[in-house]
C-alpha cells in the first residue's frame, strides 16, 4: 500500500533538462508524428517558434524525472513492479521548444485506496529557465495491492 501520508508532499525541483533538437525529432518519430513543426526548423520558425517544438506528450520525459524521485522515496513506499498507468493529462501554457532548459516540481495531489489497490495522482509543474510555467502534467498511477 502507498503511504497515504505523502498526500500533499512536494518534491524538490529536478536538475535542469536541456531539450535537444535531435531528441525532439527522435521522440516525434517514435510517436509517429509527421508534423513539420516537430521536425523542420524552417517550418517551425515560419510559424513563429525559435526552433522545432516537441509533440504534445513529450513533457512525459520531464515528468518521469520527478516521478523517479518519488519512486525512490522510501516514505512513499511505491512498488514500481505493481504500477499501472491509469490516466495522464498535459496542460500546456506553451509548447516545449528545442533549446529549453526545463525543471519540474512534483506534488502528490492525492492518495486514494480502492480495495487492495492504491491510486496516486501526481501534479508536476514544468518551468523554463525564466521560471515561467510551460506545462502542468497530471498523472495517476494505480498500484496493485496483494490479491
Amino acid at each position: 500500500m502507498v503511504n497515504p501520508n505523502v498526500q500533499g508532499k512536494k518534491y524538490p525541483a529536478t536538475d535542469p533538462y536541456l531539450v535537444g533538437r535531435e531528441k525532439i525529432r527522435e521522440f516525434a518519430h517514435a510517436v509517429k508524428s509527421t508534423n513539420p513543426m516537430n521536425l523542420d526548423v524552417f517550418a517551425a520558425q515560419a510559424a513563429g517558434y525559435t526552433d522545432v517544438i516537441a509533440p504534445p506528450t513529450f513533457a512525459v520525459v520531464i515528468q518521469e524525472r520527478s516521478l523517479a524521485t518519488v519512486l525512490a522515496d522510501p516514505e512513499a513506499d511505491i512498488d514500481f513492479s505493481r504500477v499501472v498507468h491509469g490516466d495522464q493529462r498535459f496542460i500546456h501554457a506553451r509548447p516545449i521548444v528545442a533549446g529549453d532548459e526545463l525543471v519540474s516540481e512534483l506534488e502528490v495531489a492525492s492518495v486514494k485506496s480502492l480495495g487492495a489497490h492504491s491510486m496516486v495522482t501526481f501534479e508536476t509543474k514544468i518551468y523554463d529557465f525564466e521560471k515561467e510555467l510551460v506545462c502542468t502534467a497530471i498523472s495517476t498511477l494505480v498500484v496493485r495491492g496483494d490479491e
Binding site: 517514435a30 491509469g86 498535459f90
Partner: protein
C-alpha cells in the same frame, strides 16, 4: 493561424482517421526516445511472468500516436493546449504482426469565443477501445 474556419464546424463531425501499425520495433524506438525501459514492453518472458497476455505497447505511445490525428488536422503540434486520456485496455503487440491501432477524431465541443475546439479521439485495437476520455483541446 489556421486553415480551419471555426464557424463551419459541427459537434460530432469527423476530422480525421489514421491507422497506426505498432510493431515491436516501434516499442523499442519509443522506449529509447522516452526513456521508459520497463521490460514488459519488449520481453515476452517478463510480460508472461507478471501475468500479462503478451508484450504491451507503452500507454504513452498509444497516447502520443493518437493525438497526431488532431495535430494533422490543425497542422501544428503546438496548438494542442490540453490533452488527456485514460488508459482502459492494453494493446498487445504480436512479435510478427504487431498491433494495428485505428484512431478517429471528432469535434467534441466548440468554444467559439476562445477559438478552442475539443477533439474527442477514439483509439481502437482489435475491435476494443483502448483509451477512455481521450480529449485534445486545440487552439485555432
Amino acid at each position: 493561424m489556421t486553415h480551419i474556419n471555426i464557424a463551419s464546424l459541427e459537434v460530432g463531425q469527423e476530422i480525421g482517421k489514421t491507422e497506426f501499425l505498432l510493431t515491436r520495433d516501434s516499442l523499442v524506438r519509443y522506449a529509447g526516445a522516452s526513456g521508459d525501459f520497463n521490460q514488459i514492453h519488449y520481453r515476452d518472458d517478463v510480460a508472461a511472468a507478471v501475468g500479462l497476455p503478451g508484450v504491451l505497447a507503452h500507454g504513452m505511445l498509444t497516447m502520443g500516436a493518437a493525438v497526431q490525428v488532431a495535430v494533422d488536422w490543425v497542422g501544428n503540434a503546438g496548438a494542442v493546449v490540453d490533452y488527456q486520456v485514460r488508459f482502459t485496455k492494453p494493446v498487445v503487440v504480436d512479435p510478427v504482426d504487431g498491433a494495428v491501432l485505428v484512431v478517429t477524431g471528432k469535434v467534441g465541443e466548440i468554444d467559439a469565443e476562445n477559438k478552442i475546439v475539443r477533439v474527442d479521439l477514439e483509439a481502437v485495437f482489435a475491435d476494443t477501445k483502448v483509451l477512455g476520455k481521450a480529449q485534445a483541446r486545440v487552439q485555432l
